[in-house]
């Protein structure tokens, strides 16, 4: 029997041509690119129209707007991929359990701390300067993924599994508790080690930022730059999306995950160990969050125990925006939200002549998006409309 099943499986795999496999795996990449270009064009046009409207009172404004536009778009891409990678974890867990893993932002933060601890270890050994940067990135991400993934699995085992059949709000409250506990546990550990509350994320030198172009503004030239770390961030998260997409859509394990998401009890009748699949889902989601944490910490330069909360909330927004439960949707939602934030953060104070500080109102913009989406299109950009099961 088992041998037959294996043959069948191999046949099933063999029947899938290479082209089809490529389409399954690379298809989402196209969608993501489409949304990157689309968001950039739409938001860019909106700010240009605003600038034109305001240029009668302030002739400088159009020039300023155009000059910083490329940098804002790059910033939007980086932010977008940050939200996207965290949102993947939310969306996977939600897809399988219909449960908002509130502690996911903290899993992300722990990844950042693991990376910082690795950097600190290398620094204290005095070998960080000569360390090959790419190798550093790979090891740091691997460590972050390992620790965060295992942590996510543990939280599931301790705080969520006993509550799996309880009324909806019960595991949610438990998850909120877990989020608070993780924040303070990490703070307890960090403040009692040399890392400190605001831990520096030491990295080998990556060299100067890449200069893509220069934009003339008045009599000065403003360079358009993207740091090497940001490039690494984008490449790494694209690779993660592809790997996850392959795993979920083209492997047996992925099939088991999808089956569990569709109907837990039927999946278990088909011989799928549901508990194991759920644990694996947490492991994968947590590992992605951990990797995002390492990349984020590396980009920012410091990490602290409370840094996961707001990005976590925004990533959840991104997951809902894209259609929660949908992997490509999480990516797309993250990109759109990232662009929106970058544009609000950069242009709000320019357009209101400094009356509103863009950086703080960007948070408000993100939550407003969440509310608007939930009211007008609760299924998100790519999600399918679902009816509530009674």
């Amino acid at each position: 029997m088992a041998a037959e099943a294996n043959v069948d499986a191999r046949q099933a795999k063999g029947q899938r041509s290479l082209g089809e496999l490529l389409r399954i795996v690379l298809g989402p990449l196209g969608q993501v690119l489409l949304f990157i270009i689309g968001s950039a064009v739409v938001l860019g046009l909106i700010v240009i129209i605003f600038a034109l409207l305001l240029s009668s009172s302030n002739p400088q404004i159009l020039q300023t707007t155009l000059a910083i536009l490329p940098q804002v778009i790059i910033d939007g891409i980086v932010r977008g991929f940050l939200f996207a990678t965290i949102a993947l974890g939310y969306t996977m867990v939600y897809g399988v359990l219909e449960f908002i893993n509130f502690a996911h932002g903290e899993i992300f933060m722990v990844g950042g701390f693991v990376g910082a601890a690795f950097g600190y270890t290398l620094t204290s050994m005095g070998i960080i300067d000569g360390f090959p940067p790419l190798l550093f990135v790979v090891i740091a991400i691997a460590l972050g993924m390992l620790v965060s993934g295992l942590l996510a699995m543990t939280t599931e085992r301790v705080a969520y599994r006993p509550l799996r059949n309880a009324p909806r709000l019960v595991p949610l409250i438990s998850a909120i508790g877990m989020s608070l506990v993780l924040q303070d546990l990490v703070r307890l550990i960090a403040t009692n080690t040399p890392l400190g509350f605001n831990a520096r994320f030491e990295t080998p030198s990556f060299g100067p930022a890449l200069q893509l172009a220069t934009m003339p503004i008045g009599d000065r030239d403003i360079p358009v730059t993207i740091s090497i770390k940001a490039v690494i961030f984008i490449v790494a998260s694209l690779l993660m999306l592809l790997a996850l997409n392959y795993l979920v859509n083209a492997t047996r394990l992925g099939k088991a995950i999808r089956a569990t998401a569709q109907d837990r009890s039927t999946a278990s009748l088909m011989g799928i160990d549901v508990n194991q699949i759920i644990a694996l889902t947490f492991l994968i989601g947590g590992a992605l969050g951990g990797a995002a944490g390492v990349l984020f910490g590396m980009n920012i330069g410091t990490v602290n125990p409370y840094m996961g909360f707001i990005p976590g909330l925004k990533a959840f927004t991104a997951a809902v925006l894209g259609g929660i439960g949908n992997i490509t949707g999480a990516m797309v939602g993250g990109i759109v939200l990232g662009f929106l934030e970058a544009f609000v953060a950069s242009y709000l104070s320019i357009f209101t002549a400094g009356a509103f500080s863009g950086a703080s109102y960007a948070d408000i913009a993100a939550f407003s998006i969440l509310i608007l989406i939930l009211i007008f299109r609760p299924s998100g950009l790519l999600g399918e409309a679902t009816t509530q099961k009674v």
Partner: protein
Amino acid sequence: MAMSRTSASPPPSGGWDRIGAMLLGGPTGYGFMVLYAAITSALLLGNNRTSLFTDIVFIFFLLFALLVYRAKVVLPFKLLMGVLTFGVVLPYFGTLNPFYIDVATQAGIYVALALGLNVVVGFAGLLDLGFVAFYAVGAYLWAIVSTPQITNIFPSLGPVPAGWFYVFILLGLVVGGGFGVLLGLPVLRLRGDYLAIVTLGLGEVIRVLAVNLDKPVNITNGAQGIKDIERPPIPFEAALLEATGLDQNALYQLFFYFLVLLLVLITVFVVRRLKVSRIGRAWTAIREDETAAIAQGIPLVRMKLLAFAVGSSFAGAMGVVFAAKQLFINPPTFDLLRSISILSMVILGGLGNIPGVVLGAILVTLLNLMILPRVATVLRQMQDSGVPIPEAFDPTQYQRLLFGLLLIVMMIFRPEGILPEDRRRQELHEDEPEIVDEGGDGKEVQASA
């Protein structure tokens, strides 16, 4: 209502229930109440130094409120005992040791807030993680109108006279409720877990606005907060000062204590009446099964909105009192942790059950204000004498850890809270008979350990 149900229930299953029934009702009930009040009062008044022992006695003293609420004795006796302990003994003790009366006042404020949140979470089953936003709205309302801050917004207006405070308590009620409706209107259509996230986001938005609304027009004075908030005038202040021989600050402490006590009593009364009203039953129906509730003809969104409005109006009114008592408010006072701590109170005590929520609010507040600082002192002493305790560990700074653990442990082992509501307990242990269920829980724990 709850009492009659308890007494009507079939033979008490455990020894505890039997002891409880004996102590609460009948002739022993009177004796127990008098004894309890006498012992705690004597211990309190006999030793008015601030110490761990006094803390513990003080907790037991405050818990007398529950006994008064639950005991099956005639109403006049209840009132007499309540007035004697909370109207005479506690204020007198407050003049001996001002720290404790302040703690009692804060506990009272939290009791009212937790009762408000209980209407939203416990009665209607809507998880609101941004509850403190409405408290902030009330606090900023009084802070802005009673200071020159108002002149920044409306140049023609000056600060209102302090006597308007009493009007503004009512206005806080209205404004808090109005904000509740305003924020609730777009989000109440959402399913439970989405609602939780959105209210959390809205709570953060209010805090971010409080930090940032100092430009272009200075409304909230930004991160510095508003100071020199006006205190309300005390009626017959001169006569009272002369009669009691206290200084003005001590008199204000007593005044706020009585004011909060009065507001708590009103809140308990209103919430109790609401719970057994048609509206309260509609909330219960919505909480237990939305679809069935709609089928019964309950206007879902209107009822949810009402729960939101009632809960947030309590918070708005208490915000006004808080601002007047504290004399200074700033945005960090109204952060997410505050919302979570109020939620912990409701969950710890028992969702939906009024005495339970009062108990939870008292326990959590006292834990926060008295026990944690006390433990911190003890730890520091141990550290000085050479016990290896990490230097950076200060229990008062680890409230998140505490509340987080509290939430997880309560959810896993006793989701219905310390003093559960009967109906709620049945809801949460729907599947199996209770005893079997507890056994199952135990096994689960062993397996996970």
